[in-house]
């Protein structure tokens, strides 16, 4: 009864079992490394990344109606929207729109709060910059959408 475990212990069965596992993982086809700049991770549809301000594709007008809901929803209060009423159209128009990506935690509350689909968190994740200043996006930058920085020499 007690012989079997003893024999197994002397024959190092437990160790060999472990060695087998590591040995059979050796073929490079098992490797899961992503060679990042060449292979890119699959980004799923609901990913929350770099923000973008959408505009009406037909007219080119911003979809933002300056309702300020996003700014109110933001836990970090990093969205500042200033607008004033255009007497001609009787609509509020954007005067300044800034979004501080450096403080953003991509919770998506602003996107949920937006009533016109104007603010969208895109699937872009390459947001590294050389300076902190570039992290505060204004309306133009937000409407242009993400511009991945090229790290070429």
């Amino acid at each position: 009864m007690k012989l079997a475990p003893l024999v197994r212990k002397i024959l190092l069965v437990d160790l060999i079992k472990g060695l087998k596992v590591t040995f059979h993982y050796q073929p490079p086809s098992e490797a899961i490394t992503e060679q990042y700049p060449l292979e890119r991770p699959v980004i799923f549809e609901r990913f929350r990344g770099q923000p973008r301000l959408n505009s009406n594709p037909d007219t080119g007008e911003s979809l933002c109606i300056v309702c300020n809901l996003c700014a109110l929803a933001c836990p970090e209060q990093l969205i500042v929207v200033k607008g004033e009423r255009n007497p001609a159209t009787k609509r509020k128009e954007v005067v300044s729109w800034t979004y501080d990506v450096s403080r953003c935690m991509f919770c998506g509350l602003c996107e949920e709060a937006c009533s016109t689909d104007a603010l969208e968190l895109t699937q872009d994740y390459e947001m590294a910059l050389y300076s902190r200043e570039g992290m505060v996006l204004d309306q133009a930058a937000l409407e242009r959408g993400p511009e991945p920085v090229k790290y070429a020499k």
């Binding site: 300020n68 970090e76 209060q77 500042v80 689909d117």
Partner: protein
């Protein structure tokens, strides 16, 4: 960080929020379409779960006016809600949201939420028979039981809970600060009994500077929990083996979770002294 709320003077959320509209939105684009169809914002009624309080949603904004303890507290860092007239505080009750009395004495008799109900149990009668009026209140709120006891007998009550009533697991010890009240602090002991599978909160109220007896001798776990209460509220516990700051640096001034704690200045001062730089904020 909290201090930013002061700096940017945020607008109160109330005016812009359509009252009673439930939060229900899909992803917007694409995959959330099914969801938004099912719980569209306009059709609210069909999806009310049975437990939700009828008409509560419509009343929430106005009901909130009745108890706004911090509205009059200038030092609190919350965004003030300008639209709300603070109800004249009658005695100490509005500032004690947990207490049962305010609910009864409240001038607005709206069904704005469940009310604490008296908790009838043998345990309570036993305790009442021994400590009389020391057990100020025994109620349940949302099915959760709690006792409010006098600060002078809290140690005995806790000891009894541990030894006779088998509340062998002290879940948490924490405090709540009500700067407007005379007894500024609520100390909350959350207890659990493996035997009864029951939770009870034991609460007591103490003044600023008043000291409580430590319960480390009853539950070892109280050690760090009491240290944290001391660290955050400055409430000292007599007989604690090692009462010093736990989360904040040893040289920290002030007690951050007090409502009258000025965050920004403290931070800048500490950073300036200890790190020799101006605050990054």
């Amino acid at each position: 960080m909290p201090e930013e709320t002061k700096g940017t003077d945020p607008v109160s959320p109330e005016p812009s929020s359509p009252a009673g509209a439930p939060v229900a939105s899909g992803e917007g684009a694409g995959s959330g379409a099914k969801a938004s169809a099912e719980t569209s914002p306009s059709s609210a009624a069909p999806t009310v779960p049975p437990t939700s309080v009828p008409a509560a949603k419509a009343e929430v904004p106005s009901a909130a006016k009745t108890a706004e303890p911090a509205a009059a507290a200038p030092a609190a860092d919350k965004p003030a809600t300008p639209a709300k007239p603070a109800v004249p505080a009658t005695g100490e009750k509005p500032t004690a949201p947990a207490a049962a009395k305010p609910a009864a004495a409240k001038p607005v008799p709206k069904p704005e939420g469940p009310k604490p109900e008296p908790w009838e149990a043998e345990l309570v009668t036993r305790l009442r028979s021994q400590y009389g009026s020391g057990v100020k209140e025994a109620s349940t709120y949302l099915g959760q039981k709690y006792l409010v006891v006098d600060s002078s007998i809290v140690y005995e009550i806790l000891l009894r809970m541990r030894q006779d009533e088998m509340f062998d697991y002290c879940v948490d010890i924490t405090a709540v600060h009500y700067p407007k009240r005379e007894a500024q602090f609520d100390i909350v002991y959350i207890l659990y009994s493996f035997h009864h599978n029951q939770r009870v909160r034991v609460k007591t109220q103490i003044k600023d500077g008043e000291r409580l007896r430590t319960v480390v001798g009853i539950w070892e776990t109280a050690n760090w929990l009491e240290r944290e209460v001391f660290d955050m509220f400055g409430i000292e516990f007599d007989g604690h083996p090692d009462l010093k700051r736990i989360l904040l640096p040893d040289g920290w001034k002030g007690y951050p979770l007090r409502k009258d704690y000025p965050i920004l200045q403290q931070d800048q001062e500490w950073v300036h002294i200890n790190l020799g730089i101006e605050s990054g904020q």
